[in-house]
């Protein structure tokens, strides 16, 4: 039996969400969050089952969707119900902003297609003429040094961008699972707080959280909390 899978690849979570919203002909101002969340997570699962590298941002969005879903399930406290805040509002705002840029991008793309066939000359002729002028008796070393610094900074910022790209590709939930298990193979227990505090950014914190959830599901660890707001303790099973 052959299975034909036509899988669209999405650049980011917003693009995927938009695809789902359009596919389901949903009013963006009234998103059925439970349904969309399910579809979204199904898509992610499918990607993972196909071993397609998934940017961690997709997982962050999954967490956000689950959070909104749970908020909407919570019974409203009467006092708060007055100024009833829709938990979806923030997400809708972001989606609309993203859509606005997506729309103008299409217009700009057309403009680019019309104009990129118009070419200009480089400035090498002007450079040649400038260099043909007689040299002054004295040249400024400062200008020369500044030029070199400028070049080095340009090179450096290119390198920085390359590094951050590599960094982004490096962390995955899998890595975090290994890391948590490694800590627990040395220590009997670890505080949830400590794991999160050691993360260098929000993304890493979220990945750590997802790793813990996965490990609980796999019954490799268990968590306990003596009472409300106490420190959460993670232990090996």
């Amino acid at each position: 039996m052959s299975i034909n899978i036509k899988l669209e690849v999405f650049e980011g979570p917003f693009e995927l969400l938009f695809h789902l919203i359009e596919k389901n002909k949903i009013d963006i101002y009234d998103i059925p969050i439970a349904e969309i969340t399910e579809q979204y997570i199904n898509y992610i699962k499918m990607m993972q089952s196909l071993d397609i590298d998934l940017a961690s941002e997709f997982l962050v969005m999954a967490a956000t969707l689950l959070e909104i879903k749970s908020k909407m399930l919570l019974p409203k406290i009467p006092k708060e119900a007055e100024k009833e805040e829709d938990p979806r509002e923030e997400l809708v705002k972001k989606l609309l902003e993203y859509k606005a840029y997506k729309d103008v991008t299409e217009i700009l793309k057309q403009k680019l297609i019309e104009n990129e066939r118009s070419l200009c000359k480089d400035s090498s002729l002007a450079d040649e003429i400038i260099d043909s002028f007689a040299l002054p008796d004295r040249l400024s070393i400062e200008i020369l040094v500044d030029k070199f610094k400028e070049l080095m900074i340009r090179k450096q910022s290119q390198k920085d961008i390359e590094h951050s790209k590599i960094y982004k590709d490096e962390i995955t939930v899998k890595d975090k699972i290994v890391e948590v298990l490694k800590i627990l193979s040395i220590e009997k227990m670890v505080y949830f707080d400590n794991l999160i505090m050691n993360c260098i950014n929000k993304l890493e914190a979220i990945l750590t959280f997802l790793a813990i959830l996965e490990l609980i599901k796999q019954r490799k660890i268990y968590v306990e909390q003596a009472s409300n707001f106490d420190k959460i303790i993670i232990r090996r099973r």
Binding site: E11, G12, P13, F14, E15, A55, E57, M61, K93, K94, L96, E97, Y98, A100, Y101, K102, D103, V104, T105, I107, L108, K109, K111, L112, E114, N115, E116, R117, S118, L119, C120, K121, D122, S123, S124, L125, A126, I129, S157, Q158, I161, E162, S164, K165, K168
Partner: protein, 173 residues
């Protein structure tokens, strides 16, 4: 100086420069006031429309530059096989739009609008001279601020950033 000679001198200077030349610089060299000069250049822009001409004058940010006519691109392509196409991915184009409308803007703002990291796109746009660093924002880490370049304006056929197509006002709805 008569208008004919001024036209010849302008064409000559724009040709040699290659890069855009500001109205002010042209005015200083020719000793013609900017208003009169602008009229002459507008006449020239019309002259270039004639169908024996293969080049045109493009206005960018109150500067002028000579460019080839896009409708003749097929010949240039056959002759030189140039890397004319900007070759930007959808992701890079999106990043570029956000920078164009929000400039000056930091990477983290761009990331948050797109919902994904934009490092690779920014690197590509810098490399293509579509954007540049325009300063540093206040605040922790003093992040780099990005803005668009004259190359961006030229390739998108815009005289200035004010000619960007209107974007839906998100906060009015």
């Amino acid at each position: 100086m008569d208008v004919k000679k001024a036209k010849a001198a302008i064409e000559c200077m724009l040709f040699v420069s290659g890069d855009p030349v500001s109205l002010k610089d042209l005015s200083d060299v020719l000793e013609i006031d900017q208003e009169t000069l602008k009229k002459i250049i507008n006449q020239m822009i019309d002259d270039y429309k004639e169908n024996t001409r293969g080049i045109k004058i493009v206005e960018i940010n109150n500067s002028y530059q000579l460019c080839s006519k896009p409708e003749l691109y097929e010949f240039v392509e056959k002759l030189l096989k140039p890397k004319a196409k900007a070759g930007l991915s959808q992701a890079s184009l999106e990043t570029l739009s956000i920078i164009a409308y929000k400039q000056p803007v930091t990477k983290s703002v761009i990331d948050s609008v797109r919902g994904v990291k934009s490092d690779a796109c920014i690197a590509r746009l810098l490399e293509k001279d579509m954007i540049k660093e325009v300063g540093r924002a206040d605040g922790p880490g003093r992040p780099i601020l990005y803005g668009t370049t004259n190359t961006f304006l030229r390739l998108f056929g815009l005289k200035s950033i004010n000619e960007l197509p209107p974007i839906k006002d998100l906060f009015k709805e």
